[in-house]
Subunit: 196 residues, 2 copies
DNA sequence: ATTATTTTTGAATAAAAGTTCAATATTTTT
DNA sequence: AAAAATATTGAACTTTTATTCAAAAATAAT
């Protein structure tokens, strides 16, 4: 079999991330992606079924890597619930720190991809949140966390908050520090706004 | 001058909200809106410049009403910072409780409208967040709120969290109670997750 | 009742963009 | 070196949908 030099599939994905971040999924033309990836329009369709398929693969790659990281940590370490929640927030942020464009695509096109297939999309990040929920439960049992609030709400709350913060950061072009934001979030999650 | 019976402009906006919520802005055709509003395709263009203009007006109406409510309260009452923040969360949620479809459009199409004009879009809700920031500052001064966290981060954090929760609720078709979520949010904002 | 004005219509138009595929180029095999 | 296999191409095709506008309908004015 013929050996492929380079990796057009990857080039196309990366070009797509850049385009989607800059112009949004719907305003990105296949030819935009092709030009940036240095391939012909037709090649895009050799590597991906259609435009939707590209977006889908971007999300899949993202969540696979986030989940893998946190899953390893959960298995191989023995962190307290408090430390584990902090680590999860760290890893999630870090994934986006590595690639701001993915952060923008993540926030902007999430509804789009959820519309394609709710079930498929949920599966992508549910595993991650499941781990979070597991450790929140442990924290409540051990009386480290408050008994008062609904665990499902927290789950969604924290996810939404982070999603929005990342969006804000990614669009600000580094004018705000994501590391600082990350610390603020961890503090706020732990302590709320009331002085103690 | 001829007297108009009914209100086609309003019919069109309401039909658009329903369509955008169900299928998303980009997947909604003008004819979908026209059929639901019981008007001809051409009429849509009599009342609105183009498709974008409809989305724009939806957001404008929404934020105008939210801001008006909270602005009146801020002027005419003398609530403590803590109570005021709670009231702002209440009013924001209530706007969406009144119309779940607006909640879905709000969350899904926000990036879309921000792309049209960042400046215009920001103006829509900045006034609301400004009031929030004002009361957070007061709370910090009065030592009711913690001195530790960044006020800007809080501002964005809370906004994003609420945005996401509303989305979740709107899409769940009432399977979760928004009133319950609202209370959870207020508690979480106040106290964080650590037991005290 | 007739004319003028305003509102509504929807078929026709135009523009845009996703997708295909026969032809070409490149690499591997014999 | 020729043939076979695979990869790449981009112009042409197709589909989709936003927008227009001349005509018709409805209402108001004379």
């Amino acid at each position: 079999m013929r050996h492929k030099e380079g990796n057009k599939g990857k080039d196309i994905i990366e070009a797509a991330i850049t385009c989607f971040a800059k112009k949004g999924y719907h305003h990105t033309k296949i030819i935009d992606i092709a030009v940036l990836a240095n391939v012909a329009v037709g090649s895009v369709y050799v590597y991906y079924k259609d435009k939707e398929d590209i977006l889908l693969k971007i999300f899949k790659n993202l969540w696979d890597s986030i989940y893998f990281k946190i899953s390893e940590l959960s298995k191989n370490s023995n962190l307290s619930p408090e430390k584990m929640i902090a680590a999860m927030i760290d890893d999630l942020f870090d994934a986006f720190i590595e690639n701001p464009n993915i952060a923008i695509v993540f926030v902007n096109e999430q509804p789009q991809i959820a519309k394609i297939s709710r079930t498929f999309y949920n599966k992508l990040y549910e595993r991650y949140l499941d781990i979070g929920e597991e450790f929140i439960k442990k924290g409540i049992e051990k009386k480290i966390f408050s008994q008062e609030f609904n665990i499902k709400t927290f789950r969604i709350f924290i996810f939404g908050a982070i999603r929005h913060l990342i969006h804000h950061w990614a669009e600000s072009n580094g004018k705000v520090s994501l590391s600082k934001i990350k610390e603020d979030v961890k503090y706020l999650v732990k302590n709320g706004i009331l002085v103690r």
